[in-house]
Structure formats: structure tokens, C-alpha cells
């Protein structure tokens, strides 16, 4: 590629302001000598200038006020959902603590039932874990909401 072609391929970058300093300097020097490239650069500059001057579209004040109100309401909903999720998770945790802490009581009850009725109730452990699992199941939606509260939109999703 000869010098003018190489310069032409860099002209858009020069006008767009995306070149490295040394490339920019190279183009600047070339433009001082080459009338054709100088004209091309001038045209591109005019185009960029017109893009920058394209009609402004501004959302109306009523529209902005409505969007602001909706945004506030949505944020409040999210915070409330998160608060409830935290509360639910705390209750589930407390439920588990209580179940585990009351294991001796369950064992004592199971033994009492076995002696009184003769039913093959072996231990309170199964009962306790069943209740614990039940509690967790009941509160799983809350836990899920808590975990899901910060679902991410990363930049990678932007690729199109």
C-alpha cells in the first residue's frame, strides 16, 4: 500500500479522533502536502459536524415526570421484595435452629409415643428433619427472591 492509500485508510480514524498520537501526527503532516486527502478530511469533518448537529430530541417534561415516578415506584417495589425475602430467609433459618435445638425434645416425645402406643417410632431425628425440610420448602420462594435480587445484566449481553 503506498503512502496516499495508507493515509486514506487512516483518514476516518483521524477525523473520528481515534488514532494514536504518532499516526495522527503522520496524517497531519501528510494533509499539509496532499490536496486530495486534505479535501477528503474536510468532507469527513463536515459530515461529523453535521452528525453532531442533528436535531435534538428531548423527552417532554410530562414524560420525564412519569418515568421518574414509575422508576421510584419500581425501586421501592424491589427494595420491599428484598426486605421480605430477607425476612423470610431469617425466619427459615430460625426455624432450622429451633428444629435442631429441639432434637432432644423430639427424641423424648418419640420415645414416649413408642412406649405409650407401641408404634415403631424410632427417633425424633427424622421428624425434626422432615419439619425442617417443610419449613425450608415453604420459604424457598423467599430465599430464591433474595438470591435473585441482584440478577446481573453484564456488558457481554450487549453483543449483537
Amino acid at each position: 500500500m503506498d503512502e496516499p492509500d495508507a493515509v486514506k485508510s487512516l483518514l476516518a480514524g483521524f477525523v473520528a479522533g481515534t488514532l494514536q498520537a504518532d499516526d495522527s501526527e503522520r496524517i497531519r503532516r501528510h494533509l499539509a502536502l496532499c490536496a486530495g486527502c486534505s479535501r477528503d478530511a474536510s468532507i469527513l469533518r463536515r459530515l461529523v459536524h453535521e452528525v453532531q448537529r442533528l436535531p435534538e430530541h428531548v423527552p417532554g417534561p410530562e414524560s420525564l415526570a412519569r418515568i421518574t415516578a414509575l422508576a421510584r415506584a419500581r425501586r421501592m417495589e424491589v427494595l420491599e421484595r428484598r426486605r421480605q425475602a430477607r425476612l423470610t430467609a431469617a425466619i427459615a433459618l430460625l426455624g432450622w435452629v429451633l428444629v435442631i435445638a429441639s432434637l432432644p425434645l423430639w427424641q423424648w416425645l418419640a420415645e414416649a409415643v413408642r412406649i405409650w402406643s407401641g408404634w415403631p417410632v424410632t427417633t425424633g431425628v427424622l421428624t425434626a428433619f422432615s419439619l425442617g425440610a417443610l419449613l425450608s420448602y415453604l420459604f424457598l420462594p423467599g430465599l430464591w427472591a433474595l438470591l435473585d435480587g441482584g440478577s446481573a445484566t453484564n456488558y457481554g449481553e450487549g453483543r449483537r
Partner: protein
């Protein structure tokens, strides 16, 4: 309030995250004009852009906690808006049985890429006529070129920020920008000649 918009954003975002009404109003008020302009350039439809603007802010409020420190809020906001806009554009495109917006990156007519060897009409076109032709040319550009031109020249974003929003490398963004400029020139010239 500091003079650094990124730091100001960070403060506002932290407060908005906790539900501050003033911070939410400040964020919406500060970023909506630029975002609306970008959405209009993407969609070409002010009504749709208004809907997208609202939808974007609702999504942002849902996901505010996932805007990590070190990621400028503005880039993240534009990325969310872009995702939503492209979803809608793709749906419309399917409905109209046209090619998807992203596939229009390569011009359908290869002749468009051949520059006119003669002196350009754009050199001596009056400013008002040039403005009109550029406006029309922008409307007809493939959306992938239109958006990169608007992000760079209307929004004044750095290449790195655009790359994050578009999910592309910096070199891919530059390539798209240069091709977009080239396409804009060709289409503006054609409009100037043929109206």
C-alpha cells in the same frame, strides 16, 4: 456534588440503590435526554424511543444492585437500553419479514462501497442542504453504523465505552465507526446528487 460526572453518578447510584427519591430523579433527569436521543437514532421512532426509555429505567431500577463499582453507570445504562432496543427491533424485523437489524451490517449493494472517483459534491454543498442530506442519510444507514456514529459523535463517548456497550473489542468498534463514516459519506453524496 463533585465536578466529575462519573463520581457524581456513583454517589447518585449509591443513594438510588437505597431508594432515595431525589437520587432517582437526578439520574433520570440527567441521563434521559442523551439516552432518548440514542434510542431515537436506533429505532427511528420517537414513540418507540419513549417506550424504550421508560422500559430501560424500570429495568435499571430492578437491577441497580448489579451495577458494579468501576463500571461507569452511563455505559451500563446504555447497554441495557441497547439490549432492549435490539430485542424490539428484532421482533419488528421478524414481523415484517425483513432481515434482522444486525445482519444489515454489510451493505446489500456492494457498489455502495465503491467511492466516486470524481470530486465530491459535498465539498461545495450549502450547509443547510448538507444538514438535510446527512439527516436523511443517517436515517437510512444500517442501525449498527448509525448507533456507533451517534455514540461517538453525538454522545461523545470514548471507544472503550462504546466497546463495552456494544460488547465488542475496541478495534471492532473502530472498524465499524470508519465503515459507518464511509457509508454516511456515500449515502449523503447520493442524496445530494439525486435528492
Amino acid at each position: 456534588m463533585t465536578t466529575d460526572p462519573v463520581v457524581d453518578d456513583k454517589i447518585q447510584v449509591d443513594e438510588a440503590r437505597r431508594g432515595s427519591r431525589d437520587a432517582i430523579a437526578a439520574l433520570v433527569g440527567h441521563h434521559s435526554p442523551g439516552l432518548f436521543r440514542y434510542l431515537i437514532r436506533l429505532s427511528g421512532d420517537p414513540v418507540l424511543a419513549g417506550d424504550l426509555l421508560q422500559d430501560t429505567w424500570l429495568r435499571v431500577m430492578e437491577r441497580l444492585n448489579s451495577n458494579r463499582p468501576g463500571h461507569p453507570f452511563r455505559n451500563w445504562l446504555f447497554a441495557i437500553a441497547r439490549n432492549r432496543a435490539f430485542d424490539i427491533l428484532r421482533q419488528r424485523s421478524r414481523r415484517l419479514q425483513r432481515e434482522p437489524a444486525g445482519a444489515a451490517e454489510h451493505p446489500t449493494n456492494p457498489a455502495e462501497e465503491v467511492p466516486d472517483p470524481h470530486p465530491s459534491i459535498l465539498e461545495y454543498l450549502a450547509e443547510a442542504d448538507l444538514a438535510r442530506c446527512v439527516r436523511k442519510a443517517m436515517e437510512t444507514l444500517p442501525v449498527v453504523f448509525r448507533e456507533v456514529l451517534t455514540l461517538r459523535f453525538e454522545q461523545g463517548m470514548e471507544i472503550g465505552a462504546i466497546a463495552r456497550i456494544l460488547g465488542l473489542s475496541a478495534s471492532a468498534v473502530k472498524d465499524r465507526l470508519y465503515r459507518g463514516l464511509d457509508q454516511l459519506r456515500l449515502r449523503t453524496e447520493r442524496l445530494a446528487k439525486h435528492g
